[in-house]
């Protein structure tokens, strides 16, 4: 019984894929081993039949029709690769400039304006992560604003002192 390794080695020998020394060794085996020789012969015949010629599968499309589809495809890819018109290029450039400017301004605003709690923070500027209670003139209500939670709570006291 031929092992899987030996069977593949015999195939490699038939295909001319073995180094010279290995090919000589396999060749000697084929002379003395009838089973190996039978496998080699089968592989050789099958290889020859397959290589005897690919079955010719012909296109049924006429020359003109087939070419028209290829030409349409070529024109399509060439249109896709063509550079845009000058006004389109300018419009795209303007859009990119505007987008970049907005991003830069937003980043600058973030860096310039204080966003950490300080005693000197001007009235009206809120700490990002600070909750504030502000008693309003109407003693019956309190407002509570949290920038961290992004919410404002108004407590209404129905009990009048």
């Amino acid at each position: 019984m031929i092992s899987q390794h030996d069977a593949l080695e015999i195939q490699s020998f038939v295909d001319g894929e073995l180094p010279r020394a290995q090919a000589e060794r396999v060749g000697r085996r084929l002379e003395s081993d009838p089973e190996a020789r039978a496998l080699s012969e089968e592989l050789r015949l099958t290889r020859a039949w397959v290589r005897s010629g690919e079955a010719v599968a012909r296109l049924e499309d006429s020359r003109e029709f087939y070419w028209s589809r290829i030409r349409t495809g070529i024109e399509r890819v060439e249109r896709q690769g063509r550079p845009a018109s000058s006004w389109a290029v300018r419009a795209i450039g303007l859009w990119r400039f505007a987008a970049a400017t907005c991003v830069a301004l937003a980043a600058a605003a973030f860096l310039i304006f204080p966003h950490s709690p300080t005693d000197k923070s001007p009235e009206g500027w809120l700490a990002v992560d600070q909750e504030i209670e502000s008693p309003l003139e109407n003693a019956n209500t309190f407002s509570f604003r949290s920038e961290a939670a992004r919410m404002t709570v108004v407590w209404v006291n129905t009990q009048v002192n």
């Binding site: 031929i2 899987q4 593949l8 089968e42 020859a48 397959v50 010629g53 690919e54 599968a57 290829i70």
Partner: protein, 187 residues
């Protein structure tokens, strides 16, 4: 000469190249895909790509070889996209278990003595159609494209050992199928 003219942008020369080689390109795609519509689409795409890459053709191989290689790569890309180029679980079990096919009896039918060349081609082609796409692709690349094991492995995205196993299985299956051929089926 025709190729050089086409490389200078002559669309008529390129059309002539298409007319001369279209059947071969289509046949190679059909050998792998075994579907007329798919093979036609892939062959057209191959021609479009070859027009885009025509400047890269240096004449190291024949133009026919060059364009069929483009078609084959497109076939393989398509099979990978469709996830058809992967071993089935049964094939994997067979190949990892040492290959059931090596235990099959040997066949050496003398087909060449019994059939005309055209009949032999048809016979072999019908037998190849019965193989799985992985086994058939390995055969097409090795036998028709005459690629070495390592190049077949590179194209198919698998190991050399897998290529060898697939070729072995495909050949043994073909031999068994061809041994059953009845002469009257081809006359």
């Amino acid at each position: 000469m025709l190729v050089r003219t086409a490389q200078r942008g002559d669309m008529q020369a390129f059309e002539e190249l298409v007319a001369r080689h279209r059947d071969k390109v289509y046949a190679r795609a059909f050998s792998i895909l075994r579907d007329a519509d798919e093979a036609s689409d892939v062959s057209q795409e191959a021609w479009i790509k070859s027009w885009q890459r025509l400047a890269q053709f240096q004449g190291d191989s024949s133009f026919a070889t060059w364009i069929t290689r483009i078609a084959i790569n497109l076939c393989l890309d398509q099979l990978r996209r469709q996830k058809r180029l992967q071993a089935s679980s049964i094939d994997e079990m067979d190949e990892s278990a040492g290959g059931v096919e090596r235990h099959l009896p040997f066949h050496t039918p003398n087909l060449a003595d019994r059939l005309e060349r055209g009949e032999l081609r048809q016979c072999v082609d019908q037998a190849m159609a019965k193989l799985s796409i992985e086994h058939r692709t390995a055969l097409v690349l090795h036998e028709f494209e005459e690629l070495e094991y390592k190049e077949v492995a590179r194209r198919m995205g698998c190991s050399i050992g897998t290529v060898m196993s697939r070729l072995f299985y495909a050949r043994r299956r073909l031999a068994a199928i061809l041994a059953e051929v009845k002469l009257e089926d081809y006359r």
